[in-house]
Amino acid sequence: MSGSAARRLIATFARISDAIDAAAEHLSELDGAIGDADHGISMALGFEAVAVALGQPRAELATPAGVLNAAAGAFLNAVGASTGPLYATGFRRAGERLGAVEVLDAATVAAMLQAFAAGVRERGKGQRGDKTMLDVWIPAAEAAAQAAAAGRGGADFWTAVTVAAEQGAAATASMVATRGRAARLGERSLGHVDPGAASAVIIIAAMADALDDLPNAA
């Protein structure tokens, strides 16, 4: 698939919305173990709202910044909760970084992932090891940067990113939550994969599907 960066991002969000919707029940079950069991519902609601907002033909959707800002607003207003501000801030930072680039290649996607992770980190005042979605987004963004720097594109690039993401999510099972509702559980959060980390993996996998022909930066 080809097309402008903005159009490709819109298609990517549609893919993410489908993937999250399909996984909603599983995510809520994960959340039930250490939280209030609504993570799947919140995420599905949020990305559905994003898909609807991006389905409108609007001038602002012509640039990546416009797409990501519209996604941020739609997600936040549909969800609230804690994922709302986190994802909205991430999308806004990613949009700022991409601005009006015309073509998505490995380097721009890596930059987008890094800006996204930085936004989430800033808003949630969190870090790696807190047993949150950051345990996926930070290593995924780092792997993306390394893959892009090494001139890898397409499936090669995404393999590096998704492997880092999956390992990050798996690692949360051995962590004690320090943020959010699970933080009050102490040791009882051990052994459970963080639901926010699990949904982040699904999002990254959907991005890999939608952008599988990503050119390298050469």
Partner: protein
């Protein structure tokens, strides 16, 4: 230890001791510690001392000595509390899962510091492991030092203790040098210290020092070690590695970014146990990890669930073949590695004994149309029901304003949070109470825009006060809203409610959840606003009310979300969740369902421990249903609450009993006590008129 076990359910899942492992004479394995072994045979299996002597291949006198020593040491608790015995099974599971030679797991308990108990177990283990003529390598650390302090083995001969890392100028009492010296003293051993710093200025200097004859000789002694004892540090912000200042000159961030999860003998390892390279490696003087792994007996002593990632790394890397930890940590490690997790010892609840497929329900029944419409339809109904109190804010579906609340010159009070807690929060909007409420999705914070619009709508020029429960989502959304509103020149102050005493330790009061005590804080804040007090004063009153409100809840059955119509957590047939959150998030402990009075006593004891009331003090009481618990049961609870308060000489100045802050259809209740003073009492009795609360 209280004599022979009372009839305890003897589970067939309990591993019997007289298996092959026991015969192999291993010193530490379940049963292997002779004290545990003897006690188990005596107290649980009911063997006589003679039979035990035969089973263990020792004399009767020794059996007797073991039993009494075990009593004295208290390290094995033979009261046969099932959860404590589980620790033995955990040890066996850990041993198998990680291929350890030995594993000793101390039962988890909260009364004594974990480090002391681990140290005692470590000392006990060393007593069976160390033999005359051994060379013991010693890594520094708090736990390692604690072991040395409890170790006393003067009967061994020709022992050598070698410091396994270089020295540090740090002033804490568990430096590498001090740890090695303490072990040498306990073992009457020759002590070899390393005459070089653990971290030196440059790789060149490290090389030069290692070639120095004195240091080279010390390292040669270290190479001869046939045992080594060590702990492991996590990289969490509160870990020893941060606190000790050992690595203060180096950015831990570098190692964190490379995936480091722990520090072992001064070396950073990743989650698989591989060495994480960084700027310190070439400047570190200490045992390299490959040399450590080559030592025959490698004893790791560590516990605490913050260390689970580090411990997993250590075990996956094969650095230890003897592990000493505690039951909670051991269970955490197994959980985290997908290992065999011992089943609870209580008999498994009979699952759906009725059995016929027609009776198996997959969904909870609810009055719903389209589940996705539940919140909005609920709000439409509430608005129609409470039109006397509430009006919808134009342009917003989920923001309601008090009909007779906001006035020029009065601080506007905004409350809110997720739906599903009805009558919270919309029932507390009205004159003398909140001026606006903002409602989110079920159990989810509302987003910033409607919150900001609500605040603008009730701003009377004297500022706006936000009062809401301390949840990450609410905090982020309300903070973003506050930024939006302040950009319009409206002053905003925020008070987070943190009344749930079960949700965090007393030292972390600010980290606690806000639960049903919200209602009492709203009442006080609403009265302060209604009296026309300044924003600062209203904030101060709300803060005081929150500080003096104590809540704890118990769930008997889970709630179910409208979207899933399934229980959102599992609670066994005979279990209750103590300290439950109002979103069904797990509480502090799971316990067998107890009689109502016992439940109230547990809650009131916890509340009294925090509030320290004096006889004659006045309190307000809120006994709150989580949605499915009827008034009959609430009155039964209130009866006991009143008895307990009377016994303390406390006066109930006001009481509310009913569903005030619910969790959909959860069966359960919470008790909130507001410890009044004159100021709070004046505000509490100030009139208010809202759908769910009125004071006349």
């Amino acid at each position: 230890m209280s004599g022979r076990a009372s009839p305890s359910p003897r589970s067939t899942g309990v591993r019997r001791v007289a298996g092959d492992d026991a015969q192999s004479g291993s010193p530490l394995r379940f049963g292997g510690d002779p004290h545990v072994w003897a006690c188990w045979l005596y107290y649980q299996d009911g063997l006589t001392q003679g039979e035990i002597a035969e089973a263990m291949g020792i004399s009767r006198a020794t059996v007797n000595a073991y039993l009494s020593e075990a009593r004295e040491k208290g390290i094995v608790n033979i009261s046969l509390d099932p959860s404590r015995l589980a620790s033995l099974t955990i040890a066996e599971d850990l041993r198998r899962h990680f291929g350890l030679d030995e594993c000793l797991v101390v039962p988890s308990e909260e009364t004594r510091p974990l480090i002391d108990r681990l140290a005692m177990a470590g000392a006990l283990a060393l007593r069976t492991i160390l033999k005359s003529g051994d060379t013991l390598g010693v890594v520094w650390g708090r736990t390692v030092m604690a072991i040395a302090e409890r170790l006393d083995l003067p009967s061994l001969h020709d022992m050598t203790v070698v410091q396994a890392t270089g020295a540090t100028p740090a002033t804490f009492p568990y430096t590498p040098t001090l740890c090695a010296l303490a072990f040498a003293r306990a073992l009457s051993a020759r002590c070899v210290n390393i005459s070089a710093p653990a971290i030196v200025g440059s790789p060149d200097l490290a090389r030069i020092l290692m070639e120095e004859r004195l240091v080279a000789g010390e390292f040669a002694a270290l190479e001869a070690a046939n045992r080594i004892v060590f702990g492991i540090s996590s990289l969490r912000p509160n870990s020893t590695i941060h606190a000790s200042g050992f690595f203060e000159e180096v950015s831990l961030q570098h190692y964190l970014a490379q995936g480091a999860v722990g520090v072992l003998a001064g070396r950073f390892i990743d989650r698989q146990g591989a060495l994480v390279e960084g700027p310190l490696d070439a400047r570190t003087i200490g045992i390299p990890l490959d040399k450590l792994a080559a030592i025959r007996t490698r004893i790791a002593v560590a516990g605490g669930f913050d260390k689970v990632p580090a411990l997993l790394a250590l075990l996956r890397g094969g650095y230890a073949n003897v592990l000493i930890t505690d039951a909670a940590t051991g269970r955490g490690i197994l959980n985290a590695d997908g290992g065999v997790v011992p089943r609870p010892r209580t008999a498994a609840p009979a699952r759906a004994a009725s059995g016929s497929p027609a009776s198996v329900r997959t969904h909870v029944k609810k009055f719903l149309n389209r589940p996705a419409d539940a919140v909005d339809e609920m709000l439409e109904g509430a608005l129609q029901a409470h039109g006397r109190h509430l009006v919808a804010l134009a342009g917003q579906r989920r923001v309601f304003v008090a009909r007779h609340g906001p006035r020029p010159g009065k601080v506007g009070l905004v409350v809110g949070g997720g739906a599903g807690h009805e009558p919270c929060f919309l029932g507390y909007v009205g004159r003398g109470l909140a001026d606006a409420v903002v409602v989110g999705n079920v159990f989810s914070s509302p987003p910033p825009d409607p919150i900001a619009d609500g605040a603008r709508a009730v701003s009377g020029g004297a500022g706006v006060l936000f009062v809401y429960g301390n949840y990450a989502g609410d905090v982020m959304n309300f903070e973003m809203a506050a930024e939006l509103v302040e950009a319009d020149g409206i002053k905003v102050r925020t008070v987070l409610t943190t009344d749930d005493i079960a949700s965090s330790a007393r030292e972390d009061r600010d980290g606690r959840r806000g639960v049903a005590g919200n209602v009492l804080v709203f009442k006080i804040a609403g009265a302060a606003c209604d009296l026309g007090l300044s924003l600062e004063t209203c904030e101060a009153m709300a803060r005081k009310a929150n500080r003096r409100t104590f809540t704890m809840g118990v769930a008997l059955e889970p709630c179910s979300l409208p979207q899933s119509r399934r229980p959102n957590f599992e609670l066994g047939a005979e279990e209750m969740e103590v300290g439950i959150g109002i979103h069904g998030e797990p509480g502090v402990a799971r316990a067998p369902v107890a009689p109502a009075d016992a439940i109230v006593d547990r809650i009131m004891d916890a509340i009294f421990a925090e509030m320290n009331p004096a006889p004659g003090d006045r309190v307000a009481v809120l006994v709150n249903s989580f949605g499915a618990t009827p008034m009959m049961e609430l009155y039964i609870l209130y009866r006991r609450v009143a008895q307990r308060l009377a016994a303390r000489g406390l006066v109930i100045a006001a009481n509310w009993i009913g569903p005030y802050c619910t969790s959909l259809d959860m069966a359960g209740a919470s008790i909130s006590i507001l410890h009044l003073d004159e100021e709070l009492w004046t505000l509490l009795k100030h009139p208010c008129d809202a759908a769910a609360l009125s004071v006349v």
